[in-house]
């Protein structure tokens, strides 16, 4: 069976500090991978998606970046966090050809202070 992992579960970082969130998927190959952010009480905002190693599409211009160094690893980074980067960060995966059927990780709650 497939499993998706995210870490850390919670994170408190000062403004201007760097960020690295990691997501890994087990039990599948060549997944599509996604990073979302959810502000408190709001819907999900798609940040990045990837259809393969080194292939990243960005949805929203911001101070965040994403990388996919391995087939089942997706990393979200920032060089300098802003207060507005606070939120619930979710990684998801889907199979090629499965439409919009995505499976989400447990999420990382990021608070920028």
């Amino acid at each position: 069976s497939q499993t998706i992992h995210q870490w850390p579960a919670t994170l408190v970082q000062p403004v201007g500090s760097p960020l690295s969130l990691e997501c890994t998927v087990e039990g599948t190959s060549n997944p599509n991978l996604y990073w979302y952010r959810q502000a408190a009480g709001r819907g999900l905002q798609l940040l990045f998606y990837s259809v393969g190693i080194g292939q990243i599409s960005s949805e929203v211009p911001q101070n965040l970046s994403a990388s996919r160094p391995q087939d089942r690893q997706f990393i979200l980074s920032s060089k300098k966090l802003l207060l507005s980067d606070s939120g619930f960060y979710l990684c998801a995966w889907s199979r090629l050809g499965a439409g919009n059927e995505q499976y989400f990780g447990p999420g990382t709650r990021l608070t920028v202070t």
Binding site: Y36, L44, L46, Y49, S94, A98, N100
Partner: protein, 108 residues
Amino acid sequence: LAKTTQPISMDSYEGQEVNITCSHNNIATNDYITWYQQFPSQGPRFIIQGYKTKVTNEVASLFIPADRKSSTLSLPRVSLSDTAVYYCLVGDRGEVRFGAGTRLTVKP
């Protein structure tokens, strides 16, 4: 990408059937219609997906009329644990946009 419109909130009682309708007038030929459920502090959970007519699984049914400009998620006999936010999405290849969703509250 097609925009979706669904009610902001709905109330129901335990044991009732709940129908949540979503409008997607600009749905494209290749788009799927997908529904998710989300509890607080958790990622969304896939419920059901369809392209046309009716789809049923162990937790819900999805009704899609011939013109595909709307869809209805049907939850049979809801319980308190079905209180959550429900999202309707349209698109293909996973490039979707989550809207505000419908906040369903099930009362005893």
